[in-house]
């Protein structure tokens, strides 16, 4: 049991270090254990961090966000898995559908590990932020959102750099791996933004009730709202 835990820990460290030559070997494994472990890490890591996102609004929002954040990651991966697999083959990467999903799953795992490690700092920031009832609640709400955007962006960028190195190792071609990664990122960001819109709220507005999903979750989309906000700004 201890040896197995030690091996798992060793693998997670290799994943974080981004040692592409070691990681590439795992793609030959047929066992489902490693993908399941990655799913577990994502659930725990993103769940913990998701809880810190919602905690400022209320403990109930923390619970909702802790459930929704990992769900968002998994739904993005699952919904785009077919497209990502096809693009990998079309662009000459030579990965199977399973290997494509595993590569993206592992990059999400890196994100989850970073966010889990960042969770204590996130809680400390929360502790020092004026509460919901303070006169500066609006700016506190904005500050919290900005903090989380920065942390999640940093995790995402680092994970994608590792994914790029891995794809280059697997394909032996920088151009192909760059094109493939760009395509995956475009698709995942496009879909992920809309899924995040549907799954809102995560932080929770001080002026709205705590809800798992907003009443108008499926009414409108992220890009329409961005466009509307830009129109209002320019008018």
């Amino acid at each position: 049991m201890i040896t197995r835990l030690g091996n798992i820990w060793s693998r997670l460290r290799i994943l974080c270090r981004g040692e592409a030559d070691e990681i590439a070997i795992w793609f030959e494994e047929s066992s489902i254990r490693w993908p399941l472990l990655c799913c577990g890490i994502i659930t725990l890591g993103c769940g913990c961090y998701g809880a810190t996102i919602g905690l400022w609004r209320s403990p109930l929002q923390a619970l909702y966000s802790g459930v929704k954040f990992p769900l968002l990651m998994f739904l993005t991966l699952l919904t785009n898995s077919l497209l990502n697999g096809m693009m990998a083959q079309l662009l000459g990467l030579g990965l199977t559908f399973r290997q494509t999903s595993l590569a993206i799953l592992m990059s999400f795992t890196v994100v989850a590990m970073f966010l889990a490690a960042f969770a204590p700092i996130s809680l400390f920031i929360l502790y020092n932020t004026p509460p919901l009832t303070a006169p500066s609640a609006v700016s506190a709400h904005l500050f919290i959102k900005l903090n989380h955007v920065v942390a999640i962006s940093y995790a995402g960028i680092t994970a994608n750099i590792r994914l790029y190195r891995l794809l280059t190792m697997l394909s032996g071609n920088h151009k192909r791996s760059r094109k493939t990664l760009f395509t995956w990122m475009t698709g995942n960001l496009f879909l992920g933004s809309q899924l995040a819109w549907i799954f809102r709220p995560f932080v929770g507005s001080p002026f709205l009730d705590v809800q798992f999903l907003r009443d108008d979750a499926f009414n409108g989309n992220f890009y329409e709202n961005v466009l509307e906000a830009m129109k209002q700004l320019l008018s």
Binding site: R13, C16, R17, F114, A117, F118, P120, I121, Y127, N128
Partner: protein, 231 residues
Amino acid sequence: MNESPAPNQSASSGMSTLDMGVGATLKALLKHPDQIVVQLQHDKKGRLITSLLFITIACLAGYGIVVGSFSGAEQLWAAPVKVTLGTFLSAFMCLPSLFIFSCFSGVDVKFSETRGLLYAMLTLNSILLIGFAPVAWIFSQSTESLVFMGTLHLVFWSVGIWYGLRILYHGLRDINAGNRGHLDVWGFIFVMVALQMSTALRPIVGTSETFLPVEKKFFLAHWADCMRPNN
């Protein structure tokens, strides 16, 4: 690359690396930090860790008394408690992220080694603060400006933490670090957390009716308030 050195000898000084009592640890931190790094990679580093923690707590408490001597009374015990507790809380909060950032930098390091290097960083910081303590005490007794004393303590702390971060980076480099960018980001995060911790635990230099503040403030907002002319 990762072969352990000879168990009892350090290349730089010939001193025993297993004999890490308080005195030897102090000497090694200031003169031969590579000994500390080597010892932290051994399995038997309990004595070194104990020495590091003992020195850190003693030095921080001592410096805390100097900080509290500005206001006197309750601050003579409250300031050492807050300085020591605040330092360790900041460090433990940032420890998981230090490990992850080390991995991101390509460092093949165990969690226990990372923790040991973090302790070494705190210890060197606290030793330097004790070095500044007489200077801080002189100023404490000869000025009534809270802002001046707060700034002075921050400057001393910054010098200490700069050298502390240096030993941390050197230690991780010696265990084969590649890109240091992630570690620089972590250093920035740690400094921000520590500065905010000083605000969360206020007052440390001044006085108050309560042990901890009632109102939540960010570090810069608190300092801006302190520096207003009517304050």
